[in-house]
């Protein structure tokens, strides 16, 4: 036996780090495993969106609102290095029908607790001086924020005090179970690790991990490209995106979609995201995705036309068919918990997810209804 702890978290991305952090804060001893480095998967390819603006009223929005509060707390507790910035979001519409659709969407969000304010076309330059002229208007969401995802994961993990084991030798090869199928730990290339609870925070690979545990969790990767420009002075102040983003986020289509999110960063570069397409784990550059992102960005911010793109990177959003994450205990395997499938919202939803996992582990009532996130909901015939 190598060691024993109260809980093993599989995955050192931001969700795994948050699970470790809140579990440790609840008094549990935690071991975190990852076959790669910290933030080596989707976390390291994310923009760090902490968004409420793109979510329709429902369980995910509730989770996001709760998570936003937790991020505010964490920003105080963690070093400044995580680059937390409550910059606010701005959703813009090109025409009056687009504006009308946004207005209806925003009204629903407001009832659910989102702070949102309509911005008339002639007031847009006050918020974003470099926006293209001729837009119909927009909506300002002051609760939207940003964090640097890899730094967030690394700092959360360090603050957790968890035992962190990284590298190819730590890849989980199987789940160890005891009488009645209850979890006893995991088997890795380096040996067995024992714990009565195992948390699947394997992100885009969460479906594979679930298979190892003998349960169905249909996590699919949905590829996205982000363009990164050369460093600029503050040209883009908020997270700025077009109304069509919301429709694309909610879509299950496999085809390439590009809906823009444009934002400046503290470090200087402007990030231009994000395409969405289901192509498996293929990192091959899509010139068409790049072209569409560049076209959209220069239409919204003409000033960017002469700005150079330094690089682009692909990430794989772990996505479940109903676009909701899997969070909580798996009724099919006692001791197994899931915290994955957050699609493009994992950075934002990580603290709430971590808190819920810690509550479930300690037998505490979570602060919101986690029924919709039931990991067994995709089991044919329903959850057992």
């Amino acid at each position: 036996m190598r060691s024993a702890s109260d809980v093993i978290v599989v995955g050192a991305g931001v969700v795994g780090a948050a699970c470790a952090y809140y579990a440790a804060r609840a008094g549990l001893s935690v071991t975190v495993l990852d076959r790669g480095p910290v933030a080596g998967g989707t976390t390291g390819s994310g923009e760090g969106n902490l968004l409420v603006s793109d979510k329709e009223p429902g369980p995910e929005l509730e989770l996001a609102l709760f998570s936003c509060k937790l991020w505010q707390e964490l920003a105080e507790l963690l070093p400044r290095g995580v680059e937390y910035e409550p910059k606010g979001g701005l959703v813009v519409a090109r025409d009056e029908p687009g504006m009308a659709a946004l207005r209806t969407f925003a009204a629903g969000q407001e009832k659910a607790g989102v702070t949102v304010r309509e911005v008339a076309a002639d007031r847009l330059p006050d918020l974003e001086p470099h926006l293209a002229p001729g837009l119909a208007g927009g909506f300002h969401y002051p609760q939207d924020a940003q964090v640097m995802p890899a730094l967030a994961a690394a700092h959360l993990l360090r603050a957790s005090g968890a035992e962190v084991r990284l590298g190819p030798g730590e890849e989980v090869a199987g789940l160890l179970t005891g009488p009645g199928g209850a979890v006893r730990g995991v088997r890795t290339a380096s040996g067995a690790l024992y714990a009565p609870h195992v948390v699947n925070a394997a992100g885009a690979w969460g479906g594979e991990f679930a298979r190892l545990a003998g349960v169905l969790l249909p996590v699919l990767p949905r590829r996205g490209f982000v363009l990164v420009t050369e460093p600029l002075p503050r040209v883009v102040r908020h997270k700025v995106y077009g109304a069509d983003y919301i429709a694309d986020v909610a879509s299950g289509s496999a085809a390439l979609q590009t809906s823009l999110v444009i934002e400046g960063t503290r470090a200087g570069p402007v990030l231009i995201g994000a395409s969405r397409e289901r192509v498996g784990f293929d990192r091959t550059l899509s010139v068409e995705a790049v072209r569409r992102l560049a076209t959209g960005a220069t239409e919204l911010f003409p000033v960017l036309a002469g700005v150079r793109t330094m690089r682009t990177y692909a990430g794989f959003r772990p996505y479940l068919p109903d676009h909701l994450p899997a969070i909580g205990a798996d009724a099919r395997v006692p001791g197994l918990l899931h915290a994955c499938g957050h699609e493009g919202a994992g950075i934002g939803l990580a603290p709430a997810t971590g808190r819920i996992i810690a509550d479930v582990l300690t037998g505490t009532q979570p602060p919101l209804d986690i029924g919709p996130f039931d990991p067994a909901r995709f089991e044919p015939g329903g959850s057992r």
Partner: protein
């Protein structure tokens, strides 16, 4: 000239203690984006000579609907030139793209015409071979697209064709995308210089060894009056000998490895007697100019307030750890330093080509007996397959072109010629691997770094911050160090610091050399690309 400029200089060299200069498309980092050129027939594109007279390539605009080129060659150094002229001579329609306005790559870099150099060949080793390739190019129907920065290569038409994307007009200010379609692609993208940091390496007066050579070849400029040459690899002797011949005082050549490595591989040397001859030539020059050669030593610190005033040279153990108490100061006003070359493989890695670790800890493409990468239809020649010098590059370029011809159903030429090329390649590759083994950086070099030594110059990240990311925050490779510290996120995209950061992160694997944009491309240029339909589902991952 600071090292930042030189980091992008791709200096190739002739294998052994020999000439220098890369055979690549030049700064590999600068191979860049774009193209609206739909390939057409060579006769409609004008001769190579005409194309050259218009460096922007702006006039090359064949009509839509024309057949794609048979072969697009990226890089006009020794490998690319050999590939392009051989292909054309075998009847292929060939496009040759290069970021420079003149052919030759880094290896055959020539002074700008305005400098009125009367005998540029005096700075070059192997000039006759280049003159031959130049003559053949002029006589061929190759469409030479000069001033084209290739930024990515993409599979199109359901996988049957390639689109080579370049930006052109970068020097004139009016940048625009160019797209060249071809049935086969030959990557001859050369190499760039490996830099290992040390205290003081950012001072003005510290230049890359390949960069010093490039300055001399391209601008007829010396980096200083009294220049110490240091680092590791055969390039050092060539650089020192060029500098001395051009009038600089070279107090010493400081080589971190021993030369015993070659003696331990007598067969590699015996099979390549010309390499020995080259070494002897440089040796004679160095002797004549009283240049001291110190092996198993390194410059571990540079001194100076405003610029280089002196360097400290220390002896090293087998692991390249400095031996205490051996430091000696040498006064100088410039330091030319380099630790070998790194294959320029970014266009290939983006397409998922398989790579291998070279004996000196870099990453090179895995190539089959006919120079094809693991991705069908994509060939490579010269440094991308492992640093080997100009002669090997020419051999591989020709071999690749013959393989492309065979694949496209043309006559690849006499079988005897192919066998001869293969045998020459094997012999030269054997020597190249021995060379890489001899000059592989020892793991102890990181001992030169103090915590406040800047490792990433673009983002001003110190060795201490890299070490902290590894020890305290779970970084295990260069990519995670980059995410946590920004090392490698700046203008050079980690080409300068990548090798060093990777060593400091403790990753046994060389950096992946994945850079989907091989050169920065304006968003406006990307937005002006013609829309392309996505590939059918079967070609997706």
């Amino acid at each position: 000239m600071g090292m930042r400029d030189l980091a992008s200089e791709s200096a190739g060299f002739d294998n052994a203690p020999a000439g220098c200069g890369g055979d690549g498309a030049g700064p590999v980092g600068d191979v860049g984006n774009g193209a609206q050129v739909v390939p057409g027939r060579p006769d409609r594109l004008g001769s190579a000579a005409e194309a050259q007279s218009d460096p922007s390539g702006a006039e090359v605009r064949p009509a839509d609907g024309d057949e794609p080129y048979d072969l697009a060659v990226v890089g006009a150094g020794p490998a690319g030139l050999a590939g392009a002229v051989t292909g054309a001579e075998l009847g292929l329609r060939v496009a040759l793209l290069d970021l420079s306005d003149r052919i030759g790559g880094q290896f055959y870099r020539q002074p700008a015409a305005a400098l009125r150099a009367t005998h540029p060949e005096r700075l070059h080793h192997d000039w006759e071979a280049f003159a031959d390739l130049r003559r053949r190019l002029e006589a061929s129907g190759v469409a030479h697209l000069a001033g084209h920065h290739v930024w990515t290569v993409e599979r199109v038409e359901g996988g049957a064709e390639w689109a080579v994307h370049a930006v052109t007009g970068a020097d004139g200010g009016e940048e625009r995308p160019v797209r060249v379609r071809a049935r086969a692609v030959l990557l001859a993208t050369g190499a760039y210089e490996r830099q290992l940091p040390f205290p003081g390496w950012t001072l003005p007066g510290v230049v890359g060894a390949g960069g010093a050579q490039a300055m001399l070849k391209g601008g007829l400029v010396l980096p200083g009056k009294r220049v110490v040459v240091a680092g590791s690899g055969p390039l050092l002797l060539a650089v020192a000998s060029s500098l001395a011949e051009a009038g600089a005082e070279v107090p010493a050549v400081i080589e971190a490895s021993g030369y015993l490595g070659y003696a331990r591989r007598p067969r590699a040397l015996a099979a390549n007697p010309h390499k020995l001859a080259e070494a002897v030539t440089h040796g004679a020059v160095l002797l004549r100019h009283r240049v001291a050669l110190r092996t198993r030593s390194a410059v571990t610190e540079v001194h100076g307030a405003e610029r280089v005033e002196a360097v400290t040279v220390a002896r090293l153990d087998e692991q390249w750890r400095p031996l205490p108490g051996t430091g000696r100061r040498i006064a100088c006003d410039a330091l030319a330093v380099g630790h070998g070359l790194i294959p320029g493989i970014e266009l290939a890695t983006t397409l998922g080509c398989a790579t291998r670790r070279t004996p000196d800890g870099a990453r090179a493409l895995v190539l089959d007996a006919r120079q094809e990468t693991s991705v069908r239809g994509l060939w490579a020649a010269g440094e991308p397959g492992g640093i080997g010098g100009a002669q090997l590059a020419r051999t591989e370029g020709e071999l690749a072109a013959r393989a492309v011809a065979a694949r496209l159903g043309r006559n690849p030429g006499p079988g005897g010629r192919v066998r001869q090329l293969k045998s020459r390649r094997t012999r030269l590759r054997t020597f190249a691997e021995a060379m890489a083994t001899t000059h592989a950086p020892g793991p102890g070099w990181t001992g030169w770094l103090s915590d406040d030594t800047e490792v990433c110059r673009c983002e001003e990240v110190s060795a201490g911050r890299v070490r902290e990311a590894v020890q305290d925050y779970g970084a295990r490779d260069a990519r995670t160090v980059k995410l946590l510290t920004r090392a490698g996120m700046g203008w050079c995209q980690g080409r300068t610091c990548g090798a060093a950061v990777s060593c400091l992160s403790g990753d046994p694997e060389p950096p992946s050399e994945r850079r989907p944009f091989t050169t920065p491309v304006p968003l406006g240029v990307l937005a002006a690309l013609p829309p392309t339909p996505p590939l059918p589902e079967t070609h997706r991952g």
